[in-house]
Symmetry: C3
Subunit: 350 residues, 3 copies
């Protein structure tokens, strides 16, 4: 039996199977500093202990997407080492604040499986849950990936496709945010006078700025998350691939777009739920990422007068400014340059 | 009203106007680790809790220029997003030690304003003050920037040009340094036997070493400081600029030159005052930075027998070694390769 | 007398000479975060406070090679600034766990010296010891370097070549590991079911994955360690060297290979001893590093039923996969692509 991990193939996954992933990871202020250096995130709650404490946090929580990447990274060696594509996300909920010093680990359950008609690959659905060291659930989400079969002659399993929500119910949001004393929310410090009431459904915001990505940056980010997907790191093999170069981790794009969205959504301090997400096209080093957002929906949360929710579509492009809000053409195909179509709930002070 | 920040134009600034900047930022040991990784700074006081504590610090303070960059970075979205050039610094004073865990915020006051004769731009002078979360002033300095007018037809304001000191009075230095028990200052550990008495006015020191800068490095640094100036990050737009590439944040050059100056000034452990500074020419990724220093002045500080001050001119070059101390030619023009002319006070143990 | 450090030449070293190196350095969780971002190390003991505490550590220790690089880096300005080559390592022992917050300093003793027959260079042997701030020895090792003579006419000294062990006695291992309560060692979390008993002498393991190195990465790493060797940082001078480019710090290769070895040796959580090491060929940015290991020897440690030792040969290559375990050709010469031949003791739970 080989001592190295060759990853799992389509046949290896069983409905109901539970996988406890390596490596547990204590998140530190060093990780948060790197996160800031890699994306330039400027949300006040995550940047300042003083700002966070005045509102009612113990101190500044780490960026929500840092938590997401840490929880996600652990699943790669077991779930997606032989993945052809990361197809989508759904049902992501941030369930508790994560602070430096917390140790995160991840457990996944296989909840769906369906062979593709080509007989060579199949789709595997997993629900992954991130836990803090005291057993608190901090995040759960579903993703589905296209995975190679080990043996093209193995018979197809019974198809099981889970019923996934189109969006998280807003009443299920906000568990990662203590009740906030928003009288201490200073707009000058947070970077914007615009609160939840100032946004309207259908409103589109061009986030204006662009950020060029370097190989060293995305490699450092992806290693920080202990994500081992080979395509991000190995020029020697990737130079023979169809792209001829290293592919940037899709989560890196989400974090860049989210950081860019500060300019226009500075008070959208918390990613509370991930409704869905699609990596429309690959990103490579040297490309410049831009982003725009659309307000899809507004929702209040029962029992909370401090914060409310905006459902946002966050679109990222490469080498294309977003003043004209590029998305899909008349045929419903994504326009050239669009790389990410991400649907999430953010919380804002009222 | 747009939700994105388009920055302020010349007409937007009013004498006496006070701007409280976003984003408050807790400095951590993660930021200091990144600072070391980005510049290779080796000053013992900032590197070692044990060394700093033996002298009388609570523990190791962060590098003074890390504090400077953090305080400066916050001002960019409000002061210099539409700046054509960062013209100069004056009157910079480091007022209290900054330790990991301190949260910094910045407030600026507009203290001068003068339209340029071309009618298209003007110079704005601001005094920016960095505060710790308990209200302690940790740094203040003046900078002036050339800013575009929103409307070339708007009438020129009354010119107000502040009276700025050519240099900080040495008696005003040292507030960021507790009284030190310098019997515990070990030259072996600090890296040099040369103390304040060993330097002479007029003495020039070639710092010998050179450091090549990469795009990923200056981008990570500048994002760490949450400095949002567009020219540092966006290859897509900058490839159309007069340089055709991304411009490196001037503060990155100051930090590189300061780190290089360890070789020759290892005991100049503290930047106590910034008298002035000029970015003579731009730096780009791939360039190699060298530096040399001249001792401009020596001064004792009343009531302190532990430390005294050296006024230093720190000159940085690109792609040119500094054995011949390059500065200005016979016509008073900066020589090719000179990129920084920086005038500061450093403290050294006696 | 020059205020800058020109480094020591062969004549400057005396047998028995003791050198206390600058700069003492407090290791923090920021350094560990950068270490993870630079190499992608995934060993559970160093990644998780919770995992480490359950076993009996105070909390997660830093990666052993981070300690090594920090202790080593300090020696460069005094020992190897004028080195032509870093010839070898021997007798390396990790003597105490290092935790974030510990301050490390290094003292070296010159233990050997021998002029080369060309009369231009000589070999200097030093034993370097890393100390924590309470005086605890955390690491010692011997290295020997080829150093230029200051004056080719100076007479050769009496040759003194120290007697160095071919390998550390396994009974001397394990001081940096408290007695572990290995009932809490969860294989799922550590990433492998294979314990010490599952490995056999002579067994070879291809670590499969490859990692491409960027200039920004190795520069940030080497500066983090405050290692000042010029060849790693200065493109302006190195473009005129025989390689025409910057050379990557050899220790960066060791850390990359060690991190890659997780895939196959996930439970080899601790580098306990360095028997020897040779940098066979240089590594440059853009190259992709692969690695394989051979189990050279197995040893139990008296008085310990928790862990035991594997002596491992760790071989790294560039731009060459390791499925065929490349090492030496029929003439005993290293094969093309081999860059590191490293012999160390690792500890594993039984």
């Amino acid at each position: 039996m080989s001592k190295t991990n060759a990853g799992n193939f389509f046949e290896d996954f069983q409905i109901g199977q539970v996988i406890k992933h390596a490596t547990p990871r204590t998140i530190t202020s060093g990780d948060q500093a790197l996160y800031t250096a890699l994306y330039g995130s400027r949300f006040a709650v995550q940047s300042s202990d003083a700002f966070a404490r005045a509102l009612g946090y113990a101190h500044a929580p780490v960026d929500d997407l840092l938590t997401f990447h840490m929880v996600f990274g652990k699943t790669v060696p077991d779930i997606s080492l032989n993945a052809v594509a990361n197809l989508g996300y759904a049902g992501g909920r941030f369930l508790a604040p994560v602070y430096p010093g917390d140790t995160l680990s991840t457990v996944s359950e296989v909840i769906g499986k369906k062979e593709n008609s080509n007989g060579k690959t199949g789709v595997v659905y997993v629900r992954s849950t991130g836990y803090s060291d005291d057993g608190t659930e901090v995040l759960d989400y579903v993703r589905w990936v296209m995975v190679k079969k080990r043996d093209v002659t193995s018979p197809p399993p019974d198809a099981v496709v889970p019923d996934l929500p189109a969006a998280i119910d807003p009443q299920a949001l906000g568990n990662a945010v203590p009740l906030l004393d928003t009288v201490h929310w200073e707009n000058d410090l947070s970077g914007s006078p615009f609160r939840w009431a100032d946004y309207e459904t259908g409103e589109k915001i061009d986030h204006v700025d662009g950020m060029t990505v370097e190989e060293a940056e995305h490699q450092m980010a992806t290693r920080l998350y202990q994500n081992t997907a080979k395509v991000h790191f190995n020029l020697h093999t990737e130079s023979e691939s169809r792209f001829g170069k290293r592919l940037i981790y899709g989560g890196h794009v989400i974090s860049l777009a989210r950081a860019l969205s500060f300019n226009g959504l500075a008070n959208a301090f918390h990613v509370a739920g991930i409704n869905g997400g699609r990596h429309v096209a690959p990103l490579f080093a040297g490309d410049t990422v831009y982003a725009w957002s659309e307000v899809l929906e507004k929702a209040e949360i029962d029992g909370r007068s401090d914060v409310a929710a905006l459902r946002l579509r966050l679109v990222a492009t490469k080498n294309r400014a977003c003043a004209d809000f590029p998305l899909k053409d008349a045929d419903g195909k994504y326009e050239d340059g669009v790389i990410l179509d991400f649907d999430y709930w953010a919380l804002m002070p009222k």
